[in-house]
Amino acid sequence: MSEQHSPRRPYLAPLTASWWLKHRYYRFYMLREATVLPLLFFCGCLIAGFYSLQQGESSWLNWLSFMAQPWVMALNALTFAASLFHAKTFFELFPRVMPLLPAPLMIAGQWLGTVAVAALLLLLLGGVL
């Protein structure tokens, strides 16, 4: 019995690089993931800061005035907003991954923890600076 040519020819639509533009849900996801980009810039700033601290007073002062520039401040403000946004989405996802307590409790708890840690750091470092 010879192999009959099957008339089947399944068609798979090719996935384009712009797949994520197709739906609001995907766009939101990409936005969430994109928060890493301004964060990278901020990390770059911090690394540059540590380096210039090592190099001496004039270097450090240069870095400080760089950081005070409007466009840098704007970008870092964006980074702050992006981090808050990322934290919000993460805190909402986390109770689904580890359902230890009712979700609203866990979300509130995570924010509380974040604020507490931030306050503590500001207190300690504020004292130093």
């Binding site: 399944p10 639509a13 996935l15 797949w19 849900y25 991954v97 580890m98 359902p99």
Partner: protein, 253 residues
């Protein structure tokens, strides 16, 4: 909402057609369908098949969103045809076969990959003492399982295997070897079942390159799941299990 019968109101359905015996690529065909406030997409498809065009191919059976047959893309969103109602759409409806699966014909997708992935995670109860055939003489008893233990996995056991989550998942779209939401949810369902002892047997699949780590928590799968069982949660709980497994593995001789 009173059921009204206004058969003169019509909606346009634009349906992707593809017959591999004639067509190189899919095309679209328009149909006018009368509807009232209870007409579902499935009702509309049946009307077309029965009154306008008997060659239109689509899967269906139960009509009550429990068999998982009638998956379709409606205006780009994965939906069950029997539970999507024309009354909720103001303009035309675009009907296409499930995204990320190959199309066999019209709205019929090739579900082979889906079944392969389902099978790959060993989705059955694994116990050390495999039950021999049960007879009245052996006086078998059910295992105990409290409502609390049942609640841990019951949601994940409600998957109707409709495949909508795969159509939503961009990672599966980019990599068809990714096991995907339903398969990984089923694995988690058994891993969480207090009667199961097979977690170790499932972990290799979950830990592997096409396992849980292929997921980046886009979360669209949970949004489209008609049974609201949150497959994204299951898959990412699987990541916790996988990470724990890895750490424990570091300490074993």
């Amino acid at each position: 909402m009173e059921k009204t019968v206004e058969k003169t109101v019509e909606k346009t359905l634009v349906i992707q057609r593809y017959n591999p015996e004639h067509d190189q690529t899919p095309s679209q065909q328009r149909y006018q369908v009368p509807f009232d406030n209870s007409t579902s997409v499935l009702d509309a498809l049946l009307y077309i098949q029965q009154s306008l065009d008997p060659s239109l191919a689509f899967r269906w059976s139960c009509r009550m969103a429990i068999c998982g047959s009638c998956s379709v893309m409606v205006n780009g969103i994965p939906k069950l045809g029997c539970k999507t109602f024309l009354r909720d759409y103001s303009g035309d409806l675009l009907l296409e076969p499930l995204a990320h699966f190959a199309t066999e014909k019209d709205l019929v997708s090739d579900m082979t990959l889906f079944l392969q992935h389902l099978q790959a995670v060993k989705p059955y109860l694994i116990r050390q003492e495999q039950s021999a055939a049960i007879t009245p003489a052996t006086k078998p008893q059910p295992h105990k399982q409290t409502p609390k233990q049942l609640a841990k996995y019951r949601k994940f056991s409600s998957c109707i295997n409709c495949g909508l989550c795969y159509a939503a998942c961009p990672q599966f779209g980019l990599n068809p070897e990714f096991l995907g939401p339903a398969a990984l949810t089923l694995a988690q369902r058994y891993n969480l079942d207090s009667r199961d002892q097979g977690k170790a047997e499932r972990m290799p699949q979950l830990n592997g390159k096409n396992g849980v780590w292929g997921c980046t928590f886009v979360g669209f799968c949970s949004d489209v799941c008609p049974k609201h069982l949150d497959p994204a949660a299951a898959v990412n709980q699987g990541k916790v299990a996988s990470a724990t497994d890895f750490v424990i593995g570091l300490f074993k001789p």
